[in-house]
Structures are given as C-alpha cells and as structure tokens.
C-alpha cells in the first residue's frame, strides 16, 4: 500500500482490533432492526443505515482506499438500484394481478400483506439506504476524480476540495 503525503490514515492496532470485535455485533444489530421493523421500533431505513455503517467502520480501521478496492462497485450499485427495482417490482406484481400499486394482499405468497411489507422494508428500503450510505461515503472519500474532469486542470484534482 503506497502512501502519499495527503493520506492521513494510520494503521492503528487498537482501532483495527476494536473494529474486528465490534463489527459483527453492529451488523447483527442492523439486521435485527431491519427484520423486526414490522413489530418493533425500527425498520428498513434505520436498519439499512446501521448496516451501511459497518462498511464505514471497516474503512476507518483498514483505510478508505483498500476498502474501496475490496468492495466491488457492482455490489454497491446492485444494492441501490436493486433495492429500487425490488420495491417497484413488488408494487407492480399486485398491479399485474389486477390491483393497485403495492396492494399486498394480491401477492402470490403466504401471508401476503405481512411478508409484502417485510419484503419492501428488507429488500427495498434497507438495501437502498445501506447502499446509499456506502456509496456517499466512498464517493466523498475519493474526492474529485482526475480522469473524469474533461477540462484538464489536474493540479488540484487529486487532493480535491480546493475547487469549490
């Protein structure tokens, strides 16, 4: 791992060990909030945010850049876009069966309303929010991309921020 002057990341044994121990519990807690959202306080939005925080913690322990390279872009895009698609599809299934958008009782599953709501919360909202939290973190952590700026003023593009 090459470090340049701007990188302030320090390989701290304390932080890395703490994150290794705490992360599974945070992930479990996020999943718990998500899956129990229908019967207890919480739900897809809150649980998704906590699940997304797991990646943020890993990035703080092991460096943002290594974590970016480890996590495939398709995973993040799949979470966000797949979440929107899943939410929309669940709504469209009931329309295809002759009802209104998101009319859960027409879904062809056991306990359609209950599991329809759970499906929207878990597959839809939790996926979108966790993906968006991870995506915003990585995009902002990267700053301005050098190659994507067409104007060609690359002197401030690496460390970013000075432009606006």
């Amino acid at each position: 791992m090459s470090r340049n002057d701007e990188e302030t990341y320090v390989e701290s044994q304390v932080i890395m060990s703490t994150v290794k121990i705490v992360t599974p519990f945070v992930l479990t807690y996020g999943l718990f909030i998500t899956f129990h959202g229908a019967d207890a306080p919480g739900g897809g939005f809150q649980g998704g945010a906590v699940i997304g925080t797991v990646i943020l913690m890993i990035a703080f322990a092991f460096g943002i850049e290594p974590t970016r390279q480890w996590l495939d872009n398709r995973v993040v895009v799949g979470l966000i876009a797949g979440g929107v698609a899943a939410f929309g599809l669940i709504g469209l299934v009931s329309m295809a069966r002759g009802g209104a958008f998101l009319e859960y009782r027409l879904l062809p599953i056991h306990h359609p309303v209950k599991y329809g709501i759970e499906g929207v919360e878990i597959l839809g909202i939790a996926a979108i929010v966790s993906g968006a939290v991870i995506a915003l973190f990585f995009v902002m952590g990267a700053g301005f991309a050098t190659s994507a700026i067409v104007e060609g003023d690359s002197e401030t593009a690496v460390d970013g921020g000075e432009r606006e």
């Binding site: 302030t8 909030i33 959202g37 229908a38 019967d39 207890a40 306080p41 739900g43 939005f45 809150q46 945010a49 906590v50 997304g52 925080t53 970016r68 390279q69 996590l71 495939d72 872009n73 993040v76 895009v77 966000i80 929107v84 939410f87 929309g88 709504g91 958008f101 998101l102 859960y104 306990h111 309303v113 209950k114 329809g116 709501i117 929207v120 919360e121 839809g124 909202i125 979108i128 929010v129 993906g131 968006a132 939290v133 991870i134 995506a135 915003l136 973190f137 990585f138 995009v139 902002m140 990267a142 700053g143 301005f144 991309a145 994507a148 700026i149 460390d159 970013g160 921020g161 000075e162």
Partner: protein, 180 residues
C-alpha cells in the same frame, strides 16, 4: 420529573445548536453537531417516537458526522485564530425576530404533550382507524411500519427513489462514474 428531563434535553439541544453555529473551527462544530443529534435522538425517544429517535441516532449522529468529517478531511482547513465566529448583527436581528414571532405567536398555540385537545386525538378518525385496524389488515404490530409500507406505500416508494437520486446526484457533482 418528566418536565425536568424534557427541559434538560431541550436546553442541551438549544445549547449545542447555538454552539454549532458559533464555533469557528469546523471540526469543533461537527463534533458539537453530533452531540446535538444525540440530544435530539434522546428527546424523540423520550417523547415516545422511538422510530424517529433511531433514525436520528443512526443518520444524524452517525452517518452525517462521518460524511462531514470526510468532507473537511478532503478540503482545506481555514486558519483559526478565533474560537468563535463573529456574530453577524443583521442576520441575528432577522433570525431573532423570526424566533420571537414563533415563540410568541405559534408556540402557545401548540397543544401540550399528550393533551387530548391535540389534533391527532381531537380528530380521532384517521389515527384511531390506524391504531385499531393495523393488525387485522396488515398483520404487523408496528403501526408506523404499516403506515409507511402499506397505507402510504406509494409515498415511501417516492422517498426511496429520492435516496437513490441523491446517490446519483453526488456522483454527477463529483464527476465520478463508479462508487468504488
């Protein structure tokens, strides 16, 4: 006792909000802002809105703080010779007048917490309908989740798309084509 707790939390929230605005050092402002979010989360939970409190704790105190810290790490830090921001008098007059009008005219009109005269109880048709029929109609016990995902499902779909749009908008603004 409960009045004392609420008063303490409100005083804490007001104090942290004021210091967030006044601190000249951005890092200090972000840390105090996280404390403000934590106070708001406690206040929501104490006022029996745990769903909102959970969101405030996760998004306000957690994710927003990290994103703001990341932002100042990527930007140039201004020289901080003074601890507090100088107070802009015209802005203070405008904001103060607004707060005064709100405090004198709007605040006394608000129903007390738990009052039966509150609109949500005085017009019980909608609220009572949700509270009484949620379990029979949807099979879930958390009415908030039922309203979000079932009764107001189409609105929630719009909100979900807004979150999706926010992620795309940040990519567009930062000239990036991939998240990682």
């Amino acid at each position: 006792m409960s009045d004392l707790v609420v008063a303490t939390l409100v005083a804490f929230v007001l104090l942290t909000a004021l210091t967030t605005a006044l601190f000249r050092d951005v890092l200090s402002a972000i840390i105090v802002f996280a404390a403000y979010s934590l106070g708001m989360a406690l206040l929501y939970t104490y006022l029996l809105a745990p769903d909102v409190g959970l969101t405030e704790a996760a998004i306000g105190a957690g994710v927003t703080t990290i994103l703001l810290l990341l932002t100042i790490a990527k930007t140039v830090r201004p020289s901080t010779d003074a601890l507090f921001e100088r107070i802009d008098v015209p802005a203070l007059v405008v904001v103060g007048a607004f707060a005064l009008v709100l405090g004198v005219l709007a605040l006394p009109e608000m129903p007390a917490i738990g009052s039966e005269q509150a609109p949500v109880w005085a017009n019980p048709d909608v609220t009572q309908y949700y509270l009484e029929n949620t379990y029979d109609e949807t099979g879930v016990t958390n009415t908030v989740a039922a309203v979000l995902a079932a009764y107001r499902g189409f609105d929630t779909f719009g909100e979900a798309v807004v979150v999706f749009g926010a992620a795309v908008a940040v990519m567009v603004v930062l000239h990036r084509e991939a998240f990682t």
